[in-house]
């Protein structure tokens, strides 16, 4: 700790902080454009100039506070006449070549340059020469560019090399002719590219899909969470009337830091397309609109006419925990144990520590090595990939990959694609063993793709054995991690929405469906199934998009999407967060839990709750792990179990196309544009 003085007030701050950080802690505002906490320091905007005074006296000229560290006894002046002059000068130079087209700029109202010109600017310009004009660049379907507005802070350049890791954006030319661009106007390929829109302090990089559609002050802001992947990123949904206009990240150091993926940022137009807004029932092979009353009556009739062991239910990837719990209760009441949440065929089961990300995301910072098994981590959790990228900058940090040899933006040691390599490592018959045994806190990341198939349990047991053998699990470290890619999976698993003992798993349900052995199938937002229409089985689909599930359904219940209802989700770490309603359900659609409640009521089943609060209280009482208000604690280490030699176990790729992993994403034209863009680039 060092003692410093900021504007004649005493503060004690941590050693090694930049002056600008110390000022932030002290609550003194220092204007800045290029400085960003999560990026390296560039020091090129000169906006954060302050005066410093040490034992040798006042500095001869103002210093850039982002590029200078605090030291004992340093006196900092942020509001002196000279500082004010310097800042006004810097701003006047920045504005010299800035077009001042705020009325037609999308950044207007949330622009750093606008705000800081008001707060720190000179008020008028003495420049009467010709302004510089720069060609706008093509950066793909997400980022709109207006490069005349660029002030060359290079935040986007640093982001692309340090956080997204693709090194796609750079600055060509120099001085007056410097331009920010991608390589010859190629589209940005990173899954995190949208973050440069937030980073850009001016309107040079703005969102293309959101262009000219709203001003920030007319939006309703809802702080909620994202369900496009299983990380549970914290987001803010901005809506206007009944429409979601855009999605922005929220700071959460434990999960997403400041970033979100492009899928999260741009899925929102999918909420307006392909929506199911009223109940439908199949008449003569065609789905026709019907009323809630007749839909519920039909469902009741079909359920009561089916044998309970021939009724089964599957839950999808976007469903909240409450409605899965409600469906489980309904199924139990009907007398069926045939329900499963693992629609991709994953065989995870057992206590939570066997299928959660035990080290937590922050644990990655403490780790000193990593072994990724059967996971295409860049597609399954791009933000996790970015954390690993940060760690991989350290030469000592070794990353081994078994399974898929894809571009992860960092260098790794590819050990092979066969799961049996894990067995080899276990008997120390692999080159990577030397690296592994030198690690004290390594991470093991098991993807869902590694846990599909008959031998999955056995494979997981081998991995746990391996975890104990090397330091993945020891007395004060639990680095055994399972990575999910479906937002609702961890939550559904923790309330036991999978058959234990009796009951059919997904694979059996599907084969029974195909072999006409099923009477009734209830799909709760389950769209990732490859099923053909089968007239022998009555299919009820409850969901918000006319996607794969609705196509094979005989009866469709319109439900709210995740941002149109309150609901709990557990992320892959086991952290429970609440998704908050930002807009209302479309048309006649109802909230998910309510539909199941109404169905139970129709069937005269006492399901034990009549509103969301009662349901949630019951749920938390039965499964305390779901309590969103509990302190987030690490879980115990998974127990060793018996295992055999692997028998034809194979890794399976669970994500083919990153941009089309769920029904909302598939309905989004933003994301499909992006998807096609990649295809076109590949063909070229």
């Amino acid at each position: 700790m060092v003692n410093i003085k900021i504007d004649d007030k005493d503060y004690e701050v941590e050693d090694g902080l930049a002056i600008i950080q110390a000022c932030e802690i002290a609550g003194v505002e220092v204007p800045r454009f290029c400085y960003h906490e999560k990026l390296s320091i560039a020091g090129n905007c000169r906006m954060c100039l302050v005066d410093v005074e040490d034992s040798r006296g006042l500095s001869p000229k103002p210093v850039a506070s982002c590029a200078m560290q605090v030291s004992e006894g340093l006196k900092i002046y942020t509001k002196s006449e000279r500082v004010k002059n310097a800042q006004e000068g810097a701003l006047e130079f920045l504005l010299m070549n800035h077009p001042l087209d705020c009325p037609i700029c999308d950044q207007g109202g949330e622009c750093d340059l606008q705000d800081q010109s008001m707060a720190f600017g000179y008020g008028s310009s003495r420049f009467d020469g010709d302004k510089r004009a720069v060609e706008s660049k093509d950066m793909g379907p997400f980022i709109k560019t207006e490069m005349t507005r660029c002030i060359h802070c290079t935040r986007c350049v640093r982001f692309s090399s340090e956080i997204s890791g693709n090194d796609e954006i750079g600055s060509i030319g120099r001085g007056h002719d410097m331009e920010i661009t991608t390589y010859l106007n190629q589209a940005v390929e990173s899954e995190l590219s949208g973050n440069v829109i937030d980073l850009c302090p001016v309107g040079a990089l703005t969102s293309k899909p959101y262009a000219f559609s709203a001003r920030p002050w007319e939006l309703n802001k809802t702080e909620t969470i994202d369900i496009m992947d299983a990380m549970g990123s914290n987001i803010r949904i901005d809506s206007k009337g009944l429409r979601v206009m855009r999605v922005l990240p929220r700071l959460n150091e434990d999960i997403n830091e400041e970033w979100i993926t492009d899928k999260t940022r741009f899925f929102w137009d999918g909420l307006n397309n392909q929506r199911i807004d009223k109940p439908y029932k199949r008449v003569d092979g065609i789905l026709k609109p019907t009323s809630w009353k007749s839909a519920l009556e039909l469902a009741k009739e079909k359920i009561s006419n089916s044998k309970s062991e021939k009724i089964s239910a599957l839950s999808g990837d976007l469903v909240d925990i409450e409605s899965i719990y409600a469906l489980k209760k309904l199924m139990k009441n009907i007398g069926s144990d045939n329900f499963d949440c693992r629609q991709d065929g994953s065989r995870i089961s057992g206590p939570p520590e066997r299928w959660l990300f035990n080290s937590t995301f922050n644990g990655i910072e403490d780790s000193d090595g990593c072994l990724i098994i059967g996971s295409d981590i860049r597609k399954e959790a791009p933000l996790l990939n970015s954390r690993l990228l940060r760690k991989s900058r350290d030469d000592e940090y070794k990353i081994g990959v078994i399974g898929f040899n894809n571009d992860l933006t960092f260098d790794f040691n590819f050990l092979g694609e066969n799961p049996s390599i894990v067995e080899d490592i276990l008997i120390e018959n692999n080159n990577f063993c030397n690296d592994l045994s030198s690690m004290k806190k390594p991470l093991m990341i098991l993807g869902q793709g590694a846990l599909i198939g008959k031998d999955a349990q056995n494979f997981q047991n081998i991995c746990i054995e391996l975890a104990y053998k090397f330091n993945f699990i020891n007395d004060d470290w639990n680095g055994f991690n399972v990575l999910h890619s479906a937002a609702s999976r961890a939550g559904a698993m923790s309330i036991g929405f999978f058959p234990s003992g009796k009951g059919m798993i997904t694979e059996e349900i599907i084969s029974n469906y195909n072999n006409n052995k099923l009477d009734l199938l209830y799909l709760l937002g389950a769209d990732e199934l490859n099923l053909e229409k089968n007239d022998d089985c009555f299919v009820i689909y409850q969901g918000h998009h006319g996607d794969v599930g609705a196509q094979i359904a005989d009866l469709v219940f319109p439900a709210a999407a995740f941002c149109e209802q309150n609901g709990l989700y557990m992320n892959t770490e086991g952290r429970v967060q609440e998704s908050i309603r930002s807009t209302f359900p479309l048309g006649e659609a109802k909230e998910n839990w309510e539909i199941i409640y109404l169905l139970a009521k129709e069937m005269s089943i006492d399901i034990g709750f009549s509103n969301l609060n009662e349901l949630r209280n019951q749920l938390i009482e039965e499964f305390p792990i779901i309590n969103p208000y509990r302190e987030f604690e690490p879980l115990p280490s998974p127990k060793k179990d018996e295992f055999n030699k692997l028998n034809g176990h194979q890794f399976k790729r669970i994500i083919d196309s990153y941009w089309q992993t769920n029904s909302i994403a598939r309905a989004s034209s933003n994301l499909s544009k992006r998807n096609n863009y990649i295809k076109e680039e590949n063909n070229r």
Binding site: N166, D167, I172, G173, R174, H176, D177, T182, D395
Partner: protein
């Protein structure tokens, strides 16, 4: 200076052959093993020489391949330094120094000679001549001066510049260095 872009006409074959790679690998020995990209400037310079005095896109890609660097980072370097030509520069690339000492000693006349004899700045003439104005080339004591490919021609005036350019065109031998017969930069005898 104007905005520097890659040339429109990229119709040139470019590939590092074994001989080139041998030289480039010897360059790498000057730098730490894990800091390969330090060799980007000498590699680009070598590529420019190989391609005939300018950098086509293929050369930039070849260097980025050789040094395992992202393409955009190599492009940044190539566009940053004005000594990398992104446009074809002819067989005889004339760089006219226009910085203060040369300018005071009559660089404007040299530029006029080039304009009269070669044509517009940056345009390659039929004879394979091309000229541009550059910043100080560091031979101020012999100002004004020009650089043609690798050699300096000093103590020029309008006539001597035209003579040099004519001699190049006619494939005659020309004297390098001072054009008034002094040795390096020895003092001039005043009349």
């Amino acid at each position: 200076m104007t905005v520097r872009r890659l040339a429109d006409n990229q119709d040139i074959n470019f590939k590092f052959d074994n001989h080139d790679l041998k030289f480039l690998n010897s360059l790498l020995e000057n730098y730490p093993k894990d800091k390969k990209q330090s060799a980007v400037v000498p590699s680009l310079f070598y590529a420019q020489r190989k391609a005939g005095g300018w950098l086509p896109e293929k050369a930039i890609l070849a260097v980025s391949d050789f040094l395992d660097m992202p393409k955009i980072r190599v492009l940044e370097i190539a566009t940053f330094y004005s000594m990398f030509n992104l446009q074809p520069s002819g067989d005889h690339f004339v760089q006219v120094c226009g910085t203060t000492p040369c300018w005071l000693r009559g660089a404007e006349n040299i530029k006029k000679a080039c304009k009269d004899y070669i044509g517009q700045e940056r345009e390659v003439s039929k004879d394979g001549l091309c000229w541009i104005e550059v910043e100080c080339l560091g031979a101020c004591v012999n100002a004004p001066m020009i650089q043609i490919n690798d050699d300096y021609y000093e103590d020029l005036d309008y006539e001597s510049t035209v003579k040099i350019l004519k001699d190049i065109k006619n494939k005659k031998n020309i004297i390098k260095g001072s054009q008034i017969g002094r040795k390096s930069s020895e003092p001039l005898e005043r009349d």
